[in-house]
Amino acid sequence: MQTNVSSPSLKNPLVAGSLFLALVSLPVIATAFGLEYYIGFAMRMLIVMLIASSLNFLMGCGGLVALGHASFVGMGAYALVALMEAGVESTWLLWLGAMAVAALAALAVGALSLRTSGVYFIMITLAFAQMLYYLAVSLRVYGGDDGYNLTVSPSLGFGLDIDDDRILYWVVLLTCTVVFAFLYQLVGTRFGQAMIGIRDNEGRMRALGYPSYLLKLQAFVLTAAIAGLGGAMMVTQNGFISPSSMHWSQSAILIVMVVLGGLGHRWGGVAGAAVWVSLEEVLRQLTEFWHWPLGALLIAIILYAPDGLSPLFSRATTGCKTNRFLRWRSA
């Protein structure tokens, strides 16, 4: 096996450690230099990374291309709004509630959608996403088309002030780190490896006695719950949610991020979200016509680097590009 010393791999504890340290100290540094704006920006990026990573697990490991992931983000956000109206104040309870609601919605959608496969699966998930989108549009109690503004902030407890962007940033960073670690570990578990097996050859896995439908449903519900958490964090940060964040094009952009970053690569969702969100931010400030460079980038990536940006970060065999069992056999 060849080792590549020169490339900065995230497997290197020194690199990973200093990266994490940089992320933790970002609010302090930003405040010192009067760049508070970037705390909010980094927080938004972390949340998008989280959502993209959940989709990366579903698409990369499970082979399930779902064109409706943004609707679960929105379900989480609206669940938080509804729970706050009902009197729940604790951020933690609200976030858990949002995850539960998104998971329940995904259970219903997934149970029906997973009867189909391939392009038909893409389309039926889109159909349900459109239904949820129009449901949000018709919810006049929560603002309908215009969206909904949170009037009060949820509370964090432990004497923490959620309206301080730095505090919220650390809470989001901590939560995201935990979920990233969870997704990172999940690939190596029996469940993760079974998902990869189903992606590569569902018939074989069924013959081996794996309940493929149930496993896919679990993956669908799990990733939707993480998306719901992302949505709840988003509305906690912005204090605002509107149905437009559930539009199908938002789901398409999430897919684009994952492919851009490297489908099935461990850091695929993270890298894709980082590049897409930063480019969007920079281009939007530079020019009125900020879509076309993104479009050109996508076409270039597909034509010249179909694995996405992941090979830049580490060798392609990490994550769920391949099945561990298969790697043992071929080694």
């Binding site: 389309m123 159909a127 993104l294 479009g295 597909i302």
Partner: protein, 306 residues
Amino acid sequence: MDAIFLIEQLLNGVGYGLMLFMLAAGLTLVFGVMDTMNLAHGTLFMLGAYFAATIHVLTDSFALAIVLAVILTMIVGALLEVLLMRRLYQRNHLNQVVATFGVILLADDFVKWAWGAAPVMASAPEALSGPLELGGGLLYPAYRLLIVGAGVLAAVALYLIVNRTRVGMLVRAGASNRHMAEMMGVRVRTVFTLIFVIGAALAGVAGSLMGPITSVQVGMGESILIPALVVIVIGGIGSVRGSLIAALLVGVVDTAGRAFISPILREISSPTFAADVAPALSSVAMYVLMALILIFKPAGLFPARG
């Protein structure tokens, strides 16, 4: 609710359905023959509408506008095929979806740059702007009848091309077994370009005709793309016949949803509830239809490949 209203709505539904069919036919041919997903198909529709609106203003001739718009759309389609789509045929669907999504972003910005962000006015020709008496006191806008007629014509022409001509034979050969067709000496690459351009032409016709009854604006391609995708999925991807039937089904269901859900809800529930829920229900009618069909027939109504 009288018979005249019902017939009017039925005609609206059929007209919309036939428009969707013109888009869906291109999509389903490209998918069926080349196994390629092309999200940028709606972009060709949008370009057709912009071309026709602009040429109509410049030349003051509606017929000329349609013809030139379709030819221009075909040229754009050919360029798209030669420069990009050709390199995507061997890739997986996800790659195709992402690359053609990139085309959407490029094209939308181009249109915004060339025509501005505000919607462009497209008008129907004056001769067709009035209503036409269809007998029995039924007045129906003449322009919408033209759309129905054009849709029927396109469906018949496509049927004849696919089933009665040499090109159609090659298309069917390529669709059922591409490898075998290549072995038999079919220049598959040329056939692919041809199919793509036929699809672009149909999208151009649909776009240039739809311009005057919807607003010509950036993003109109994406908002019609989704119903067109719904149509090809319901019909069974790759089946032209399936997409015709599905397009009529979707057109009628969508129109009926918009026309009847609101009055029915107002009859059976409170007005505020009806006002809240009816628009959402009418918007999702076609998605409910698709979800129901896919749950019972996971490969659509007429699967092209058994």
